[in-house]
């Protein structure tokens, strides 16, 4: 399947893009993370959440949607 992944904040700086299309076979959020960690090793160091079809999901959730997003916490005020 093809995923459209959006990157926010510091994550977009690591991936060097705000969004991209990735091929993903199947699996949970954790499987997707493994794929992303291979592509972007520094992501391992960052805390973030995954959203699927505009909803925050846990890492155990099966990826079925095509719209994904990675959201780090923001600190500034």
């Amino acid at each position: 399947m093809t995923l459209n992944i959006k990157y926010f904040g510091l994550i977009a700086e690591i991936t060097n893009c705000n969004e991209e299309i990735l091929d993903f076979f199947e699996g949970s959020g954790s499987c997707l993370l493994e794929l992303l960690f291979q592509k972007y090793p520094t992501l391992v160091e960052i805390d973030f959440q995954i959203a699927q079809n505009q909803e925050i999901i846990s890492k155990n959730t099966i990826i079925t949607g095509s719209e994904l997003a990675l959201l780090p916490p923001f600190s500034g005020g």
């Binding site: 904040g9 510091l10 705000n18 160091e45 909803e55 959201l71 005020g77």
Partner: protein
């Protein structure tokens, strides 16, 4: 015409709504980039009692975004400076200034006397403290936070909605998520997000139906794109806080971090005798052409210790100065104790190199 006439003629507000605003008590934690516009609009809107808590003082580098303050306020405590300016804007309301830090000692007592708590902080210690205190006192929390050109906004702990911990259960690892002082921020962005936060406060007080609860709004000022993402309540996170007998403060403040040696200038060093290490990923720019350095991304540093010459003094740099601190910590863990982090990252490094050239 009265001060609130343009509010009162809105049928959705009216005299009744304006009375709700004047009867409301709102605590704003942090009078910074977000806090300033929040305070200005809430003062103008006639919120009956406003509390402002901030231990910090006004600095010249605050003025590009903290537009409540004047140049003459530099050096004055932010809560006190804000109180003075706001009373000039609306002397009919009550403004309490707390020129101190929000801590586990005062958070519950303060939150208990206000109806709505607003998070305008710039650090995770205070943000998690506010989150936990509003859960324990049953108050809604209006949340906003920013990173460079992007902002996040939500309302937590509102009518059985999710809390900040339902979104981010644990604080991030130390030193990885930089704040505005470290990476910069577009001044107007704090105005946009802060004003939207003030709007959520007003919606809560006026009991509007569509308060931004259970939703994280993400805004990018470069593209003017907004995304809304659904957040679900995680009851176990909330129960965990309710069952704690006392508030816990996470140790995220820089004062509590292991002391990392940092330098801000290169002019006292003999550059040829320094081992410079760039811990950014290899695609990250700008590169420095006028300096010999090795590229060892933070993610691979432990695997590549052999290429680092630890007989020389080591200066580590990255994009902002956060990852380089982490790298120095990792090197210390591996027994390499002569490394320092270059504060402010690559751009400061380039400036410092230029300064040296100009002097010679």
């Amino acid at each position: 015409m009265g001060r609130y006439d343009r509010h009162i003629i809105l049928k959705e507000v009216g005299q009744e709504g304006q009375l709700k605003l004047s009867g409301a008590k709102v605590l704003v934690v942090g009078a910074g980039g977000l806090g300033c516009p929040i305070l200005q609009y809430l003062t103008a809107a006639g919120i009956g009692t406003l509390g402002i808590i901030d231990f910090d003082i006004v600095e010249v580098s605050n003025l590009h975004r903290q537009i409540l303050f004047k140049t003459s306020d530099i050096g004055i405590n932010k809560a006190l400076a804000a109180q003075k300016q706001l009373l000039d804007l609306n002397p009919t309301i009550s403004i309490e200034a707390y020129p101190e830090r929000l801590t586990s000692k005062n958070a519950l007592q303060l939150c208990s006397v206000y109806d709505v708590i607003v998070d305008g902080t710039d650090n995770f210690t205070t943000r998690y403290l506010i989150n936990d205190a509003v859960i324990k006192t049953g108050k809604p929390m209006v949340y906003g936070a920013i990173f460079k050109f992007e902002g996040q906004l939500s309302v937590f702990n509102y009518q059985n909605g999710p809390s900040y911990r339902c979104l981010f259960p644990k604080p991030p690892k130390k030193g990885f998520i930089p704040n505005c002082n470290e990476v910069g921020v577009l001044g107007v962005l704090t105005g946009i997000i802060g004003t939207m936060m003030a709007n959520e406060v007003i919606k809560i007080i006026l009991k509007f139906s569509d308060v931004l609860s259970g939703v994280l709004l993400c805004y990018d000022s470069r593209t003017t794109k907004m995304s809304k993402l659904k957040i679900n309540r995680n009851q176990s996170e909330i129960d965990h806080i309710i069952n704690q007998t006392e508030l816990q403060e996470i140790q995220e403040n820089t004062q509590c971090e292991p002391l990392i040696d940092e330098i801000t200038e290169l002019n006292n060093l003999i550059l040829s005798q320094i081992e410079f290490i760039d811990v950014r990923e290899k695609h990250e720019k700008p590169k420095i052409t006028s300096l010999n350095y090795k590229q060892v991304p933070l993610s691979q540093i432990k695997e590549h210790l052999d290429i680092i010459n630890s007989n020389k003094k080591i200066v580590v740099f990255c994009q902002s100065g956060s990852r380089s601190k982490k790298a120095v910590e990792l090197l210390k863990d591996c027994g390499i104790n002569n490394a320092v982090s270059f504060k402010g990252g690559v751009m400061n490094m380039i400036t410092s190199l230029k300064n040296i050239k100009n002097e010679t």
